[in-house]
Every structure is written in structure tokens, then in C-alpha cells.
């Protein structure tokens, strides 16, 4: 009974309640102290729990209380589980989250919604920690939905602008599509496992019993049950983690404040799909067909997003597509069975992508909310510190050793290499080639981003010239800490062939050991790892050098490519995001709107308004018209009617009396 685990998500929640209710009254200083202090305490508690897990070597668990139950059928407790995987995730969320809270103090200064912003941010932390710590799928789903809600609230934070609200709605709806599949997956788990507890869902024996069953689906025929569950959960993950086909919301989500993009749409929330896969690793491993699908989608997303990133001119959009691309990498890793590499990339990506976003936020802040890179350039002189940290992030994501991204990306590429070429899987070979190409493209578009923003000649608005200055204080501190983390994060999980011991992988329990291998096999494996690493270094290096050349001295080369036929086509496709939004609009949104409009005309306008409401009124009115002619207003007329009536009554009375008299 480790009830202190509850404090990890509860503290940010208290911050949310307090700032949400009282924030307006207590002043910005108190709001910032509460909003940043509580996540930091949360971080310290997570740190202590992590130390405990390291020292004792067994996970911590809080049994909680019965939450939802039907006697003898279902029992879902509200319980938290803190193992190696959750520990690392908690440390990343509370650590990076606290830094971004601190950064926000500088970034959001003077905003009228200051307390609202921090309340949402704290609520996000609560749900994200609940997602990570929840010991059953339903509790995880609560967190899953909660972070979606906070994401929606924060994307539309500046709600005065309709475009921001539309972006928020788009994110929410896209996520809902994925969540629907996730929910179906949960239902399937509940009916076939009889429980949603993580321990049961990752129990190999139970999975084997379930895996023997099949499910008959219309059009698809008989499908393995575990495959169905895994695919449904993965569709949920494509929504949250922005994969094909549901990735389009993430670039639009950049409408929110930049620290939000850093925390939610780069470092933490979008990686929760990967976390889900890692959490349920045995279940995913039991569905090889689904894993191939995941690898394919991951690799294709990585490539498509990288291609789009080439043509973007908004600094945040470049970073957003780069996030989508990196998430694709993580799913590729999961697809080829390298859960440890995927999770490692989650951690390093959290560091360097948060750093890059906060760096871009620093630029945007300095440029008075100018995000177009075509109007930047030469900022190296005005923003030397931001430039330096941004460069660290760029080199980290490009995979330059020994920065964080190098180790994690190398591990992912090796996993693909291993499955594709050593194990001889054709699909994996293809997906590896795609990911391999993307590694070079990543280096290229990130250097392009740095070059357009910080290098070359200044294209700044003359009005802004001289006003651009380095933001100091909390912003600088956060950048510094994250830059250090991005530079050194890779040493968390140095692979064995480089003399490390893959500590992160072993600690989280995701690393597949090499115990069964002979000395000779191990030797050849290490040789292959060396080959793969040299290959990935070569591709990243060539991407880097090509970009440096194109955006440095070789401007002619770039112009010639852009003006050539394929170059023009690619440029137009990339700048227009391969027309995916237009495609979705034409295929889903338009028909839906047309049908809605038709239904509106048919049911609302014609049936309800026309027949039921106006029809009733018209009927009574027309009947009224018939009878109103009788009301002449001419008094003698009424009197005549009255007299006639009296006469008739009299006559009847007389008749009656006469008959009565006769009897």
C-alpha cells in the first residue's frame, strides 16, 4: 500500500482546482508559485519512488479502492502501479513538465488568461500522470481522454481567433475517432480477459489462451482475437500519437501557446500511444500481423511528415511535422519489436523536442509573435543563447553523436535492420529503407529550419529591428536544463556494443536480453550493430552536409533543384501538405456536411418545422377563418340568433310538456 503514489497526480490536480477557482483573485505571483511548485513536488515524489524502485528492485503499487464493479462479473479498482516504465515516464512528465511550467511564467507574462492557462496545464499533468500510473486500461483511458480534453482547451486557449477554435475542435474530433477504437479494444479485453488489470493483460499464459480464439468480422472473415485487440488499441494510438491516417490534427494544434506545443504536442501527450504499446508489450508481441501493420504505418508516417516538413515556412509547423515523423519512428520500432528502443526514443525525444519548441517559443516571443521563417534570418546575433540551445536540439534530433537522438535513433534503425536483413523479413526491409531515408531527411529539414531562422541575412521586419532581444530568466533556465538533457540523455541507454549496459531498457523491463546467444552469435550481432550505426551516421551526415551546403554557399544548387520540374512538383506538394487535408475534406467532411444539410432540410425544415409546427398552426388558423365570419360584431344579429334559440327551446319545452301531459 504505497499511498504516496496518489500524491503524484493529485498535487497538480489541487493546483488546477485552486488556480481554476481562485486564480483571478490571488494575483499572478501566487498563481505561478502554486502552478509550478506543485508539479515540482510531484517530481520530487516521483524521484523518491523511482529511487525506491531502483533500491528494492520491485515495483510499487497502490491498491486504491473499488471503483466500478458488478458483483461476480467485473471489478475495476482505482489503483496505481509504479514500475520501471511508469517511473521513467513520470520523471519525464513531471521533470520536463515542471521546466515548461517555469518557462511559461516568462512566456505567458501579461496574458489576460494567465491563471486559466496554468490551471489547464496543471490539469493536463494530472491526467497525463493518471494515464501513466493507472493500473488498468479503464483508468488509463480516463487519463487518455483527460489529456485530450486539456489538449483541446489549450489549443483553443486564445479563443478569440476562430482559427484556433477550429484547430482545437479538429484535434478533439480526430482524437475521438481513435478513442472510439480504443474503447472497442477495451471492451474486447473485458469480455475475453474478464478484467482490465495490466497484470492480466501482460500475462503470457492468459494471452496465449485468448490468442487461440478468433473473431468473425464482416468483410474480413475470421481474425485472431489478440490481433483485433492490438489493432484497435493501435488505432487509438494513431489518434493520440498522430499517425497516418489521423495525424492531421497535430500540425494544426500549433495554434496553442508554444509551451503547450512543447509539453503536450511534443514531449508527453503524443507519446502516450507509444507508452500504451510498451505497457502492453506481451500483448502486442502476441500479434505479429498487427506489428507489421504498425511498422508500416510508422515508417510511412515518418517519411510523409518529413517530406511535408521540407516545404513548411512556419517554424512551429516544421517542428510539428518533425514530431509526427519522430513518432512514426517510435511506432516503426514497436512494429519491429524494439519496444525498448521506442521507449528510449520517447524519452530522448521529450528532451530535444521540448527544447526545440521552447527555443522556437523564445524566437517567437522575441519576434513579437512572428512565426514565419521567411521573415527571420540572422537571428544568431540577437539571440545567441537561443541559437546555441536550438542548435543542440537540432543536432540531437539529426542524430549527431553523442547527443541524445543519436543513440535512440540508431537503436531503432538497428532493430529494423536486424529484422529486415538478419531475420530476412521483406516488409521490414522496405520499412527499414524508408526509415533510413527519413533519417537523412530529418537532418536536412532541421538544418533548413535553423538556417532560415538563425543564419544568413536578416529578413526581419524593419519595425522589429533592434527590438529583438534574448528573453531571460525562467525561459533561459528551462532552455539550459533541456539543452543539457538533450546532450546527455542518450547516455541513459548506451547499447552493449558501445560498452554500455542498456540500463534504461533493462530498468523498464522492455529490453530483450541476449542471454540465449552464444559468444560467436553475440559477436556477429555486435558486428551488425556497428555496420548499422555507420550506415545511419553516414545518412545523417550526408543530410546534414547537403543542408549546410544548400543553405550556405550552394544556393545555386538549391535554386536549380527548386526550379526543376520534379523539384517544383515536390515543393508544391510539400507546401500543401500533400493535399491530405483537402482529401479528407472531400472524402469525409464534405459528404458528411451534405448529408447533414439534407437531413436538416428533410427532417428539421420540412417535417418538424413545416408539417408538425407550422402545419398545426395553419390548420387551426384555417378552421378559425371558417368560423370567424360568424362574429359580425352587429349586436342585433347576435340577438336574433339568441331569440331564435329561445324560440326553439320554448317549442321543445312545449312539445315535451304536451307529451308528458298525454301520459
Amino acid at each position: 500500500m504505497d499511498i504516496h503514489l496518489l500524491w503524484i497526480p493529485l498535487l497538480p490536480f489541487l493546483g488546477f482546482v485552486f488556480n481554476g477557482l481562485m486564480g483571478r483573485r490571488i494575483g499572478t505571483r501566487a498563481v505561478s508559485a502554486i502552478a509550478c511548485g506543485l508539479p515540482i513536488i510531484s517530481f520530487l515524489i516521483s524521484y523518491r519512488a523511482w529511487r525506491h524502485v531502483v533500491d528494492v528492485g520491485s515495483p510499487q503499487h497502490w491498491d486504491g479502492f473499488p471503483w466500478i464493479w458488478i458483483d461476480g462479473l467485473v471489478e475495476i479498482p482505482f489503483s496505481l502501479h509504479f514500475d520501471g516504465l511508469a517511473a521513467v515516464m513520470c520523471l519525464v512528465i513531471t521533470g520536463v513538465g515542471s521546466l515548461i511550467h517555469l518557462y511559461s511564467i516568462g512566456y505567458m507574462r501579461g496574458d489576460p488568461g494567465y491563471h486559466r492557462y496554468f490551471a489547464y496545464l496543471n490539469l493536463f499533468m494530472t491526467f497525463m500522470l493518471l494515464l501513466v500510473l493507472g493500473d488498468n486500461l479503464l483508468l488509463m483511458f480516463i487519463g487518455w481522454e483527460g489529456v485530450g480534453l486539456c489538449s483541446y482547451l489549450l489549443i483553443g486557449f486564445w479563443y478569440e481567433d476562430d482559427a484556433n477554435c477550429a484547430a482545437g475542435r479538429k484535434a478533439f474530433i480526430m482524437n475521438r475517432i481513435g478513442d472510439f477504437a480504443f474503447l472497442l479494444g477495451i471492451f474486447l479485453c473485458l469480455t475475453h480477459f474478464g478484467t482490465l488489470a495490466m497484470s492480466a493483460l501482460t500475462d503470457v499464459n492468459q494471452i496465449q489462451t485468448v490468442a487461440a480464439q478468433t473473431l468473425t468480422i464482416p468483410l474480413l472473415g475470421s481474425v485472431g482475437l489478440v490481433t483485433t485487440i492490438v489493432v484497435l488499441l493501435f488505432i487509438g494510438a494513431t489518434g493520440k500519437s498522430a499517425q497516418i491516417p489521423l495525424y492531421v490534427w497535430l500540425p494544426d494544434a500549433m495554434a496553442g501557446p508554444t509551451p503547450v506545443s512543447a509539453l503536450i504536442h511534443a514531449a508527453t501527450m503524443v507519446t502516450s500511444g507509444v507508452y500504451l504499446c510498451c505497457r502492453l508489450m506481451p500483448l502486442f508481441q502476441a500479434a505479429p500481423a498487427a506489428l507489421t501493420l504498425i511498422a508500416g504505418i510508422g515508417a510511412c508516417t515518418a517519411l510523409l511528415a518529413a517530406l511535408i516538413a521540407f516545404g513548411q515556412n512556419d517554424i512551429k509547423k516544421v517542428l510539428a511535422y518533425s514530431t509526427v515523423s519522430q513518432l512514426g519512428y517510435m511506432f516503426f520500432a514497436i512494429g519491429v519489436g524494439a519496444f525498448s528502443a521506442a521507449f528510449f526514443h520517447v524519452v530522448t525525444h521529450a528532451f530535444f523536442k521540448a527544447l526545440l519548441f521552447l527555443g522556437s517559443g523564445s524566437v517567437i516571443h522575441a519576434m513579437h509573435h512572428q512565426q514565419d521563417m521567411r521573415k527571420m534570418g540572422g537571428l544568431r546575433k540577437q539571440l545567441p543563447f537561443t541559437h546555441l540551445t536550438f542548435l543542440v536540439g537540432t543536432l540531437a534530433i539529426a542524430g549527431v553523436p553523442p547527443l541524445a537522438g543519436f543513440f535512440s535513433k540508431d537503436e531503432i534503425l538497428f532493430a529494423g535492420f536486424e529484422q529486415g536483413f538478419l531475420a530476412g523479413s521483406g516488409a521490414s526491409m522496405l520499412f527499414w529503407s524508408i526509415s533510413f531515408l527519413t533519417a537523412g531527411m530529418t537532418a536536412f529539414y532541421m538544418i533548413r529550419c535553423v538556417a532560415m531562422t538563425f543564419w544568413g541575412e536578416s529578413r526581419i521586419d524593419p519595425d522589429l529591428e533592434g527590438k529583438v532581444h534574448e528573453p531571460g530568466g525562467w525561459i533561459g533556465l528551462s532552455l539550459l536544463v533541456l539543452a543539457i538533457a538533450s546532450a546527455l540523455g542518450g547516455f541513459l541507454n548506451v547499447p552493449e556494443f558501445l560498452g554500455g549496459n542498456a540500463s534504461l531498457g533493462h530498468f523498464t523491463g522492455l529490453q530483450q536480453g541476449h542471454e540465449g546467444l552464444s559468444e560467436q552469435d553475440l559477436h556477429s550481432l555486435h558486428a551488425a550493430e556497428w555496420q548499422s550505426m555507420i550506415l545511419s551516421l553516414l545518412i545523417a551526415g550526408s543530410g546534414l552536409l547537403l543542408a549546410l551546403h544548400c543553405y550556405g554557399k550552394g544556393k545555386d544548387l538549391r535554386r536549380r533543384f527548386v526550379e526543376s520540374g520534379p523539384g517544383q512538383l515536390l515543393g508544391r506538394l510539400s507546401a500543401n501538405k500533400f493535399y491530405v487535408d483537402e482529401f479528407y475534406n472531400a472524402v469525409f467532411v464534405r459528404p458528411f456536411e451534405t448529408i447533414s444539410h439534407l437531413m436538416f432540410i428533410l427532417f428539421d425544415r420540412i417535417l418538424i418545422d413545416g408539417i408538425l409546427v407550422s402545419g398545426t398552426a395553419l390548420l387551426t388558423r384555417n378552421i378559425g377563418h371558417l368560423f370567424r365570419k360568424m362574429q359580425t360584431g352587429f349586436i342585433p344579429g347576435y340577438l336574433l340568433t339568441f331569440a331564435c334559440g329561445v324560440l326553439v327551446l320554448l317549442f321543445m319545452l312545449l312539445n315535451f310538456l304536451r307529451q308528458g301531459g298525454a301520459q
Binding site: G633, I635, L640
Partner: protein
């Protein structure tokens, strides 16, 4: 002395004349006069019945006369109200013609 039947014939005749006047005339003043005629026709009938059944009626020997006096009093009040309404209508619309006063038509 006239018999009850003769008196009732007289009453019925007066009532019919009054009814005709109320229904047919357009001048409110004449309509009011016709109303008085109808009331008095009823009075004659009541007095006649009172005399014919003086000894057997529940209302006693002078019940008919008392009833008639009551009707006369109410008729006076009615006439007063009717005439004052007439005056107001005249002031307002400068007309006492019923055909022109049918503002409540549908």
C-alpha cells in the same frame, strides 16, 4: 274585468313588438325603448298571474305587485346605465347607429 288569457295576449303582443324593435331598429335609443316595452310586457304578465293565483301562490297575496315593483326598479337602473353608455358612445364615435358600431367583427 279582463280574463287572465286576455291579459296574457296583451303581454305577448307587447313583448313581440318590443322584440321586433330590439332586433330590427338601428338606433340604440329606440332599441333601449323597445327593451323597456319588453320589460313592461313581462310586468303585465307577472301582475296578471299574481292576481289569478293570489290565494294559492307561494309568494302570497301581493307577490305579483311586489315583483313588478322590483322589476321597475331594476329597469330604471338599467335605463340609467344604458343611457349613460349611449351618451359615451355618442361622444366617442358621434353615432348611435348599431351598424356602424360593429367593431368586434371577426
Amino acid at each position: 274585468m279582463f280574463s287572465l288569457a286576455t291579459l296574457l295576449y296583451l303581454s305577448a303582443l307587447l313583448f313581440s313588438i318590443g322584440t321586433y324593435g330590439v332586433l330590427a331598429r338601428r338606433n340604440i335609443l329606440v332599441v333601449l325603448m323597445s327593451l323597456e316595452l319588453m320589460l313592461n310586457a313581462v310586468n303585465i304578465a307577472i301582475v296578471s298571474f299574481g292576481r289569478a293565483h293570489a290565494l294559492t301562490a307561494f309568494s302570497g297575496e301581493h307577490g305579483g305587485q311586489i315583483f313588478t315593483l322590483m322589476v321597475l326598479a331594476v329597469a330604471a337602473a338599467e335605463a340609467a346605465i344604458g343611457l349613460s353608455l349611449l351618451l359615451v358612445i355618442w361622444r366617442r364615435w358621434k353615432s348611435i347607429d348599431l351598424r356602424q358600431l360593429c367593431r368586434l367583427n371577426g
